[in-house]
């Protein structure tokens, strides 16, 4: 699985470079071909010309299975259904809805890789409180977004950007 890497951006050329970056204590890897690396290296110092859109694209392009199947073995199982975490690693299938709580610590990284986000902001069941209401202040989110871009934490930036966009969309809906 780790042998031959395909470029995570164009998904066609063999990867020529591996970009590694330390983000808040965890190492993120990005495999790119020469072309794509030159085009959209999100880790170059100067990020002025690089849109968050481009960075987001790279994140979304990452090959899911490969990313999920990082060979870090974790020896735990779901307290409810007994599924070993390593079994999830090989099938990408969880055993029950409680698995989300049992494996939370490890699943978050996968969710971020698959969706570029870790929090639900869609519909909720009838009677349930609407989600995300606590941090729905656009100015605060914009401040955090700038902070994230400045510290080159692009995953967090993408997340915040989505959140901001959603609030803006909602505001537009109210006006019209």
């Amino acid at each position: 699985m780790l042998g031959k890497h395909i470029c995570m951006s164009c998904k066609q050329n063999p990867a020529a470079v591996k970009l590694t970056k330390l983000i808040k204590g965890s190492v993120e890897e990005l495999w790119l071909c020469q072309e794509c690396a030159a085009q959209q290296n999100p880790y170059q110092k100067k990020i002025g010309a690089l849109s968050i859109e481009q960075v987001l694209a790279t994140l979304l392009n990452q090959n899911k299975k490969e990313m999920a199947a990082k060979p870090r073995s974790v020896d735990i199982e779901c307290s409810s259904c007994g599924l070993p975490f390593d079994s999830y690693r090989s099938t990408l299938l969880l055993g029950c809805s409680e698995c989300y709580a049992s494996f939370e610590k490890y699943l978050i990284a996968d969710l971020r890789k698959f969706h570029g986000a870790t929090t639900h902001c869609g519909r909720v069941p009838e009677g349930a409180p609407p989600v995300l209401e606590h941090n729905r202040n656009p100015r605060e989110i914009r401040r955090r977004l700038r902070e994230a871009v400045e510290s080159e934490d692009f995953q967090r930036a993408a997340r915040l950007r989505d959140e901001l966009r959603q609030i803006e969309l909602r505001a537009e809906g109210k006006e019209s």
């Binding site: 979304l60 899911k64 259904c81 599924l83």
Partner: protein, 351 residues
């Protein structure tokens, strides 16, 4: 008419922009709380899920006269038939215990039970009707949700067996026919740009994205961190753009390269109307060209809907089912050529 053939009916309904957009669908992945997901559930648990979902569906007026198939009971050729009608997934085609698909009698709404998730409920229709199918699926989802109480977390949304579906659990998709863009070699550009938008492209049969007769299925990849409306809105806007480009490409082809494109169309017609052996791959390629011609008024009274049906009719499972179970490839290729010749006995003299 038998139930299996009745399930064909959704294929020939027409709909907005159906010269380019063959069909639209929206599906939700949902699970019951406190019961393991199907892959990990025991026999009795799968049975319990099946019973509870069936009961909820029986109480739902949309399913007044349902069309249901037990994947456990029907034969493999019948499962293949449903798969070719785009009504069940590859996973469901395998058969398996306590698995079922229940459709409304107009084949616009369906629930798959005990696939990868306890429920996969979806709405589908022909043409560009993304908002319509989404609204239909959403309405059914909330009705069934009220009765069944789906597994949900305030943080991660609706919980699914595979975390790639978590959140909204919503997968919206359209099947596109893009021969124009294919002729002017712009497909790969479009395909390449999709991942950047959080969208995925697949081929006609879903799983692999190999070019099969210029049919492409585009769907959202991301289900968490975006609202249902955002997902539908993004996909709709992208499809509208592709639609415009495809129409432009077709106009250009017929205005600037008329002799070339007419030759292509009539050659395709000639092969379809006269060949004695036809593989399903070749048939799809040729029928794709025929469909482009129909859009420009060629081939007499033949319509897009007729063609949608014909495309499915010559798939291996459909031939095997109607031909009394012949599974040999060569016999099937002969049968396919026969069916095509018969269907294409049309008055083409006026073109």
């Amino acid at each position: 008419m038998d139930n299996l053939r009745k399930s064909d009916e959704w294929l020939d309904r027409g709909g907005p922009d159906n010269n380019v957009v063959m069909s639209s669908r929206a599906r939700y992945a949902r699970n019951l709380p406190r019961i393991p997901f199907p892959m990990r559930a025991r026999h009795e648990e799968l049975k319990e899920v099946l019973d509870r979902v069936q009961r909820a569906i029986r109480n739902n007026p949309r399913f007044a006269s349902p069309l249901s198939f037990s994947l456990t009971e029907i034969k493999s050729v019948e499962r293949n038939y449903l798969k070719e009608n785009h009504l069940i997934s590859t996973e469901m085609e395998k058969g398996g215990e306590n698995r079922m698909i229940i459709l409304t009698d107009d084949i616009k709404l369906a629930v798959m039970i005990n696939e990868e998730d306890h429920l996969r409920l979806f709405a589908l229709d022909t043409g560009f009707q993304l908002c319509e199918v989404f609204n239909q699926a959403a309405a059914l989802e909330s009705e069934l949700g009220r009765e069944l109480g789906f597994a949900f977390s305030p943080k991660y949304g609706y919980l699914t067996a595979c975390p790639t579906n978590t959140g909204t659990g919503l997968r919206a998709s359209v099947m596109l026919h893009l021969p124009g863009l294919s002729y002017i070699k712009q497909i790969s550009e479009i395909v390449k740009s999709m991942p950047q938008l959080g969208l995925t492209v697949r081929g006609f049969h879903g799983e692999n994205s190999e070019n099969q007769g210029d049919f492409f299925q585009i769907s959202n990849e991301v289900t968490l961190g975006k609202s249902e409306e955002q997902i539908i809105d993004l996909l709709s806007r992208v499809i509208e753009q592709i639609l415009d480009k495809e129409k432009q490409a077709r106009r250009m082809l017929f205005e600037k390269n008329r002799a070339f494109i007419e030759d292509e169309l009539w050659r395709a017609y000639g092969l379809l109307a006269h060949a004695r052996l036809m593989t399903s791959h070749e048939a799809l390629q040729l029928l794709s060209k025929l469909r482009l011609g129909i859009d420009r008024g060629y081939f007499g009274s033949f319509s897009h809907s007729d063609l949608n049906k014909l495309i499915i009719e010559v798939q291996p499972g459909h031939l095997q089912y109607s031909g009394g179970g012949t599974a040999k490839a060569e016999a099937r290729d002969r049968l396919r050529a026969d069916v095509l010749r018969k269907r294409l006995e049309i008055d083409v003299s006026r073109n």
